[in-house]
Structure formats: structure tokens, C-alpha cells
């Protein structure tokens, strides 16, 4: 009897611990062709649930991965359309006009919340392919998940001033430069995927802390599952995120963990 009470108590403790875990909106997930072959969608869905990821912005090369995962976890997956059929196209896609056919075909067939993550630097934004892609996003009021430099961000907003842009990896820029970009563009958000410079050995970097305080409603976390094995980093990454977010005031931590991403999706 005592044993049963203990087990029940342990189970309650565990469920309480899970319930108290800060939810995560993972704003930078890929489920690309090679991952589809090696990690089945049901396994991916389990990884996300086990990690306490309640929503994930998913884009894949090609889009098949996103659709498979959407079917396996419709409550979690927020679909985005990536302009790549294979991940290796990240440096060449903006010069490939067939990308437009690929985008139009998928946009007609499926529903998306965003286009991206796409890689573009500087004048890449001026290429006809990217200009057309931005136009397609504008027609449907889709978020642009952009991986690139500040110059490209400037050109995206020059092309479409009302765009909602999620800046992947915060441009791998320093906190002050990220703040400057966020100051300049009220409709720019920034994900922190594949960055760990916000925290070191249990302390938040003061420059990043200042950035989060200056723009508590604009940052979000993301894992970036760029290779199939990285799916097994989703859980550790969620733990890492909760650990460093705990060092911030609760409101800011909740914002970065999930609320900012949810508000971005709800915005027009």
C-alpha cells in the first residue's frame, strides 16, 4: 500500500513538474528530405511533445516534410513554405526561376503562415525570384522568415514596408545591432536559433539582457534542425532555453519562450 502511495505521489510530482514546465514555441524547425528518411514523422511529433514544444514554425526542403509533420502533429506544426527543394539550394535558389513555379504550386495546394526560412544577403533581395517571392507573400499576407544580413532586411522592408519579417538567428548580429534593426522596423521579429551567446555559465550576457528589455515582445527561440540528427537536439535545446530564460523576469521569459511567436502569428 505504502508503495502504491509512493508511486502515485511520484507520478503526481512528475506531472506537476511537466505542467509547470515553461512551454516553448520553437520558431526555427526544418524537416528536410534527409530527415524524413531517417526520423519518421510520428517520431518527430513525439520528440516535439516530449520536449514540451507546443508550437513549431516548420519549413522543409522540400515541402513534403512539412506536410508529413503537419499531418502527424497538426496541433503543433505551423507550416512555412521554404523555397528549396533540397537544402543544398541555399546559395543558388535566388537565381533559379523554377523556384517561383515551385512556390506557386505549393501555395495553391496548401495553407501556410510564412515563407521561409530563405537565405538572402544584400542585393540578393533585388533578384526577380526574390521579388516575386515577396510579392507572393504579400498577396497572402505571409510572414517572411529571412536568414541574412541587415542590408537584406532593409531591402525587404523597402520592397514591402508592411511585411512581417522574422529574422533568423537575429542575423547572427551583435545585440546592439539587433536592437537597432528592431528599433528601425516595428514589424521585425528575431529568432535566437543556433545562438548561445545570450548566456554563459549561468549568466545572461548584459548586452543581450538590455536587448530583451528594450524589445521584450520581439524575440523568440528556435532549435534549427538543419541535419537529421539535430532532431535529437530539440529536447536538450528546449531545456537549454528554459534554463536561460529562467534568468530573466517571468514576463520577458514567457514572451521569448512562446508568447511573442504566438502574437506574431496572430498579427496582421
Amino acid at each position: 500500500m505504502l508503495k502504491h502511495i509512493f508511486i502515485l505521489g511520484a507520478a503526481l510530482f512528475c506531472s506537476t513538474a511537466i505542467a509547470e514546465q515553461r512551454p516553448i514555441f520553437d520558431a526555427h524547425i526544418h524537416y528536410s528530405h534527409d530527415a524524413v528518411k531517417l526520423v519518421p514523422p510520428e517520431q518527430v511529433a513525439k520528440i516535439l511533445r516530449d520536449a514540451g514544444v507546443r508550437k513549431a514554425l516548420v519549413s522543409s526542403s522540400d515541402d513534403n516534410g512539412t506536410q508529413l509533420l503537419l499531418a502527424a502533429a497538426p496541433d503543433i506544426v505551423v507550416p512555412a513554405l521554404r523555397p528549396y527543394r533540397r537544402r543544398g539550394e541555399i546559395n543558388t535558389w535566388m537565381h533559379d526561376e523554377t523556384v517561383i513555379d515551385y512556390l506557386e504550386e505549393n501555395l495553391t495546394k496548401n495553407d501556410y503562415e510564412a515563407i521561409g526560412e530563405f537565405h538572402a544577403y544584400g542585393d540578393d533581395i533585388k533578384t526577380p525570384v526574390i521579388q516575386r517571392m515577396i510579392a507572393l507573400a504579400k498577396e497572402r499576407n505571409l510572414i517572411l522568415h529571412h536568414h541574412g544580413d541587415r542590408e537584406a532586411v532593409d531591402l525587404i522592408f523597402e520592397t514591402w514596408p508592411e511585411a512581417r519579417v522574422l529574422w533568423a538567428h537575429s542575423g547572427f548580429d551583435d545585440p546592439a545591432s539587433v536592437v537597432d534593426a528592431l528599433d528601425t522596423y516595428p514589424r521585425l521579429w528575431a529568432d535566437l536559433a543556433f545562438r548561445s551567446d545570450m548566456v554563459s555559465r549561468g549568466s545572461i550576457d548584459p548586452n543581450w539582457k538590455a536587448a530583451f528589455e528594450a524589445h521584450p515582445d520581439r524575440f523568440m527561440v528556435g532549435t534549427d534542425t538543419f541535419a537529421p540528427e539535430r532532431w535529437y537536439y530539440v529536447g536538450p535545446h528546449a531545456d537549454f532555453s528554459r534554463e536561460w530564460l529562467d534568468l530573466l523576469p517571468d514576463q520577458i521569459a514567457d514572451n521569448i519562450a512562446y508568447a511573442n511567436a504566438e502574437r506574431l502569428l496572430a498579427s496582421q
Binding site: 534527409d34 531517417l38 517520431q43 533540397r86 537544402r87 543544398g88 541555399i90 537565405h119 536568414h147 538567428h169 547572427f172 543556433f194 545562438r195 548561445s196 554563459s200 555559465r201 534549427d224 538543419f226 541535419a227 537529421p228 540528427e229 539535430r230 535529437y232 537536439y233 536538450p236 535545446h237 537549454f240
Partner: protein, 375 residues
């Protein structure tokens, strides 16, 4: 007449081939791979480092199954001294099939990190973990103390460390690991054909340098040139001893991966056996700055320590999981590397080399000279 002409042609061709192909810059880079062997410095974190008794006891224990809880195997079972302190299996076989290839144990003195994932920052800790790892020797500190107390090694142990009965079991474990470490420090590869070439260049002894095969020289030029292998495989050990994604898949099975440096760092940062811990015998804590300051990065996941290339032709198969059977396969892996696996904003140190068959053969010829002993 015809025979004389043929002999002259061969001699002439030999004379033409016998030259140093390297530019001044390449010679300068080549000198950075030596001198070899490096001078020995005893390990201040190990009070029995460079102690002849400890070295002898460490060697005996290394070869004795007393260090496994049931006497099933010794360190040498996997780190076979007759096979460059490794074995030819892709993945080591402990009590179960382990996750990684058995690394050779030569040239380990003075490294900053040990193991494929760098879970230790000193050689005695790296020697300690397999003793208590359940899938390997499977001792705990108490069972090890009993085993040593009842073994023929007890007298030597007590000469070195005093009465075992008054020692806490964990202290016995650390002391045993330190004797193993004292032995392992002595395992160094000899001067090789490459070292003779390198030293000849340093001494400007072209007559000696020209005996180094041209194929190996061309391979060396690729190694430090277009191949840029030297970026990670540098210094006298041909390793920067840091952690990188070499584009090798790291699935263990359908639902598990080898976390590499990520797991190693987690282990290291919670280990009591680091240079920053109480088991370090060095009051000055030399080298502890590394474990105090090392930072976690997302890029740690699935990265593995750059192995030394000294003695490399004797330690097949290769990579952290032994997935590449020979040097030719390793060169081909880098020649056709799948850069799609690598992060777009990662280290960007690898790209497809698209080497010709001749270039592959030249690189292998060079690597073999890092093993081929001088005499």
C-alpha cells in the same frame, strides 16, 4: 647498347624525381609539424606522473583483467599494444557493443581534452572512467578497492600510496587511475619518415630531404594547401585537439544519436575528476582554466575531437564510429563531403575537394609516412 640506354634513362628519371617540391611557404608550414617527439613534461595534477614504480604498476594493471569487475577483460583487450593500442573493430566491444571506435592511446601526454567527446580534461580521469563505466570494466570504487587489496599488486600500490585500508574507496580508484595515467604518458610514437623529412628541411639538408617520396610531398602539399586539412590537423600531433563536425552521420540507431561534444561537456562539467576538482594534486591548478571557462554551444552537438594523425595508418578503421574502413575511404569522404549536412553559418571549414585519383593516392602516401618508422 639498348640495356645501357634504358639504365641511363631510369637513373636520369630518378634524379629528376629526387627533389624537394615544396615552396618556401610550404616548407615553413611543414616545420610546424615538429620537432618530434616533443619534450616530456610530467603531469603536475598527478603526483605519480613520471614515477618509475607507478609506470610499471600502471602497465601491469593495464594488461590485467583485475580492473574489470568480473575479470572479463583488461584495458589491453580493447587497447591492444600489438595493434597500436586499438583494435580493428569499427565500434569497441565492451560488455555490449559500444558507441564509438576505440581510440589509440599513443601521444596522449599533455592534451587539453580526452576522448571523442572530450569528457575529461586530464589523462587520469580519462583512465578512470572506463573502470567504473557499466558497459566497460563495471567496477565501482568499493569493488575495485577489494580487487586491488586481494591482488598481487597490493604491495606496489602501498609502496606508492600507503596503506590501502585507511584509504577511502574513491581515493583508491583515483590512485589506480593515476598509475594508469603514468604508464599511458610514456606511450609515444617514434620518429617517422615524415619527421626525417621535416628535420632535413629544418637543417637545410636537401640531400637527406630528397629521399622523401614525391607522392608523399604532393600529398603534403594538398594537406597544407587546397585540402586545408591542416586547419584541424596541425602542430606536431597533427591535431588541434578541438571538436568539429566532419560531416559523418552520428545516429547510433533509429532513435538515438551520439551527442559527441555536447554529451562530453555535460559529463565534464558535472565531473569531480577535473583539473578544477579536489583530486587534482597540483596546488596551482595548472590547466584548470579550460574547464572553468569552456562554454556550451549548440554547435557542440554531434561534434567529435580531432584525432592525431601520428601512427594513423595503423589505427583503421576511422572516424568516431569507425565507419570508414581505410585511409582511402577517409580521403574520399572529405573529397565528396555532403556539405548539406553542415550548418550554413557553421565553421565553414569543409567543402567538396573533388580530388583526382592521383591526388587521393598522394594524400594517402603522405599519411602513411606519419606512421612509417624511420628505422
Amino acid at each position: 647498347m639498348k640495356l645501357w640506354f634504358t639504365a641511363a634513362l631510369i637513373a636520369l628519371a630518378g634524379a629528376v624525381r629526387a627533389e624537394v617540391l615544396l615552396s618556401a611557404d610550404e616548407i615553413e608550414q611543414t616545420l610546424s609539424f615538429g620537432p618530434w617527439p616533443p619534450s616530456f613534461h610530467s603531469d603536475p595534477s598527478n603526483r605519480v606522473s613520471n614515477n618509475a614504480r607507478a609506470i610499471a604498476l600502471g602497465e601491469a594493471l593495464f594488461n590485467d583483467p583485475v580492473l574489470s569487475v568480473d575479470g572479463a577483460f583488461s584495458c589491453a583487450s580493447c587497447h591492444d599494444p600489438e595493434q597500436a593500442f586499438t583494435t580493428p573493430e569499427a565500434r569497441a566491444l565492451g560488455r555490449v557493443l559500444l558507441d564509438r571506435n576505440t581510440p589509440s592511446l599513443q601521444n596522449l601526454a599533455g592534451l587539453r581534452w580526452y576522448g571523442w567527446g572530450g569528457k575529461s580534461d586530464n589523462l587520469w580521469a580519462a583512465s578512470l572512467h572506463p573502470i567504473i563505466e557499466e558497459q566497460e570494466m563495471a567496477h565501482n570504487a568499493d569493488s575495485l578497492k577489494t580487487a586491488i587489496s586481494e591482488s598481487t599488486y597490493i604491495d606496489e600500490f602501498e609502496v606508492l600510496f600507503g596503506d590501502i585500508q585507511v584509504q577511502d574507496s574513491e581515493l583508491v580508484l583515483v590512485n589506480i587511475a593515476k598509475t594508469l595515467s603514468a604508464y599511458l604518458e610514456t606511450l609515444a610514437t617514434d620518429q617517422t619518415q615524415f619527421d626525417a623529412f621535416r628535420d632535413a628541411l629544418e637543417n637545410q639538408d636537401l640531400a637527406a630531404a630528397v629521399s622523401y617520396p614525391e607522392a608523399a610531398q604532393r600529398g603534403l602539399q594538398l594537406f597544407i594547401g587546397r585540402g586545408n586539412c591542416v586547419l584541424c590537423h596541425n602542430g606536431p600531433r597533427f591535431s588541434n585537439n578541438e571538436f568539429h563536425d566532419a560531416g559523418v552521420p552520428y545516429f547510433l540507431n533509429e532513435t538515438e544519436v551520439d551527442e559527441g561534444r555536447f554529451g562530453g561537456l555535460n559529463f565534464l562539467l558535472s565531473s569531480p575528476y577535473t583539473l578544477d576538482g579536489n583530486w587534482n594534486d597540483d596546488p596551482n591548478r595548472q590547466g584548470a582554466w579550460a574547464v572553468r571557462n569552456v562554454r556550451r554551444n549548440h554547435s557542440d552537438f554531434g561534434t567529435f575531437r580531432t584525432p592525431s594523425l601520428r601512427g594513423v595508418s595503423e589505427t583503421a578503421p576511422y572516424m568516431h564510429n569507425g565507419s570508414l574502413s581505410d585511409l582511402n575511404a577517409v580521403i574520399r569522404h572529405y573529397s565528396k563531403i555532403d556539405t548539406e549536412r553542415l550548418h550554413a553559418d557553421g565553421e565553414a571549414i569543409l567543402s567538396e575537394l573533388n580530388l583526382s585519383e592521383q591526388e587521393i593516392a598522394d594524400l594517402v602516401a603522405f599519411l602513411v609516412t606519419l606512421s612509417k618508422e624511420l628505422y
